[in-house]
Symmetry: C2
Subunit: 416 residues, 2 copies
Amino acid sequence: MSTTIIPLLEKAQNASRSVKSSADAAKQAILRRIGALLQENAAAIMAENQKDLDAMADGDPRKDRLLLNERRIRDLAQSLEDIAMLPDPSGQLLSEKQLENGLLVRKVTAPLGVVGVIYESRPNVTVDVAALCIRSGNAAVLRGGTDAFHTNTILVSLIRRALEENSIDPDAVVLLPTDRALVNELLTATQYVDIIIPRGSQQLIDFVRQHSRVPVIETGAGVCHTYVESSADLEKAANIVTNAKVSRPSVCNALDTVIVDAGIAENFLLLLAPSLAAYNVEIFADEAAWPILEKVGYPYLQHAAEADFGREFLDFKCSVKTVDGPEAALSHIRRYSSRHSEAIITQNSTLGERFQQEVDAAAVYVNASTRFTDGGVFGLGAEIGISTQKLHARGPFALEKLVTEKWIVTGDGQTR
Amino acid sequence: MSTTIIPLLEKAQNASRSVKSSADAAKQAILRRIGALLQENAAAIMAENQKDLDAMADGDPRKDRLLLNERRIRDLAQSLEDIAMLPDPSGQLLSEKQLENGLLVRKVTAPLGVVGVIYESRPNVTVDVAALCIRSGNAAVLRGGTDAFHTNTILVSLIRRALEENSIDPDAVVLLPTDRALVNELLTATQYVDIIIPRGSQQLIDFVRQHSRVPVIETGAGVCHTYVESSADLEKAANIVTNAKVSRPSVCNALDTVIVDAGIAENFLLLLAPSLAAYNVEIFADEAAWPILEKVGYPYLQHAAEADFGREFLDFKCSVKTVDGPEAALSHIRRYSSRHSEAIITQNSTLGERFQQEVDAAAVYVNASTRFTDGGVFGLGAEIGISTQKLHARGPFALEKLVTEKWIVTGDGQTR
């Protein structure tokens, strides 16, 4: 067991200069070389992965996330190629101005330095994060889950080999030991680490937010509402709500609560009920919605408790809230939203725009499923996460947010 | 004494919706009305200010910062007019994309919501921050110093009057009680406050960084180096170093340490000595520099201790470090810099560019004084502060950073 990770962080910081100053083509070559090494060593990777899988209890739902097979390794190599093709976000000129005294003041993007990522069992995060950091000129400090330790160890050793072969200090990608006690050291290492990104359960994110002295980009839970307003096309509304709930309930952009105007509640819920019932969706209905669903014999009906609002279900479950119009809907969303993704279904475009303006969330939809909140869908390339905070990055964010700004000022003797 | 500020923060959050949805012209009108009210009530403001001044011990150096006289009140009104003239940073379209399925995905800027600012005795911060927050559609929660409480109280009451006269909820600008214990409540109010900006001493900033759960933009200390390289024009170098040290030693962009190449140390220091001596600058010289300055009888000469490097002097004092070339200079800066402003004086433009590329600081200069690091000088308009962190804002930042991003997605029934 290691007793401190500071020497590792110091090495990563030194190595960050090596990757920061390497040419664009070199960074692309490294990513392609990692992809080739992963495919050449697929058998060895799968053997290490099997050790991790064997250590996990049978039937553990995380097994699927942990598994690496030949197809997934090919996908990783493809993802590396995709990241290599993205433009380098560092060294971009943001503004340029010549002052009256002749000083040339430029604002440019520059790598952050050392990016720390804390995540759980998915080993593809190891490769994706390392690749995104290298592409943007940063060093990566990876703290993966204990469950994936053997897999992560071989993946990182291949990544480091590719760095070394391209004359980059291999400490630009460092895998930390998984002792729980060392996480606190990482979270307080403001001298060595420039940013921490937690990826995983709400519990992990809360822990990082609570203890980190290093600036954090939170990628948090989604408590997502879809508000079906009186003027809505009810067929479309039922379609959108069903999609938002059932297409992938385990993810953060899935629907948690349907809000419906009282005047259309009966018509709408009668349309919605069969389509949710087909997926065995359990409904926690408020007092007004319950009798409507009860009357049609909805098979998975519960009375909503207060705790069923503002709850991220991550399952085939949702709550239904009946309101007497937009003000009440907006007020419910203000109170219970986690500011991730929110939607209104309406034929009233003025109201739709007002909803988009007023609702304080990373993504606000009119007449579409909240399931679209995703870096790939929004055209950003490989996604780092979906930020639920407001500084630096909000909503889906990717490579382009792994940089900071820097003022470059050039003169010939100017004084103030 | 209040026992909690949560109700005040909740009011500010509600009021933030009122200022967020007000039209551009209305926000400008409010700022101009505040300016008029300040001038109409100058006598009353000065009377309240006198109470604060009377409570401060004679000879306290903070008295000057606390003082409001007619000229300063006129300057405040002018500053309000300047801020009114700046473009509204919210509601700007950052990107727009129509997906193949017809979804329109736009990224726009939006107000942050509630901005908390913790500062010390300068009452102009009260007016500037309130104005910048209103202009950008945010609510402001102000925690000023105890020393300025009477002054801040009347200033905020006039600001709130201007809001009310323009039909904006006056709780959009709230002055918090100054009980020290309540600061912690502000720093942990993640539910109500979107961002905290500390402005003041390093002690204050460290406290905020240590205790805040709300995201912080740090405006920190400047430990600034100027490296005089062998090829430098020594006349220019002496000029720049002197300016960077003496033009305003109490500010964060003032020089703290001169780094000089050994080969030119004697020639350079002989030029520099009389010009620093004219301002009674105390020099903490390393082993190589000391005999040179001693030989010419430099009147305020000390042996540098380890603690004199990486030290922000904020006074007519500096340290001198002799190095054997660029590598050693870069290494010294890496070790001791606070990443605020750094400079190289050189005639070698390749080396200058390398320095600007490699040095990790908010502003990196070639052949100019670090004193230029300032929002006004860089053309940003009224400055909020100089960020020494890397996320969201770096270096001088102003109105345009008081916004977040938001994804606005419009469809006609799309599902995923």
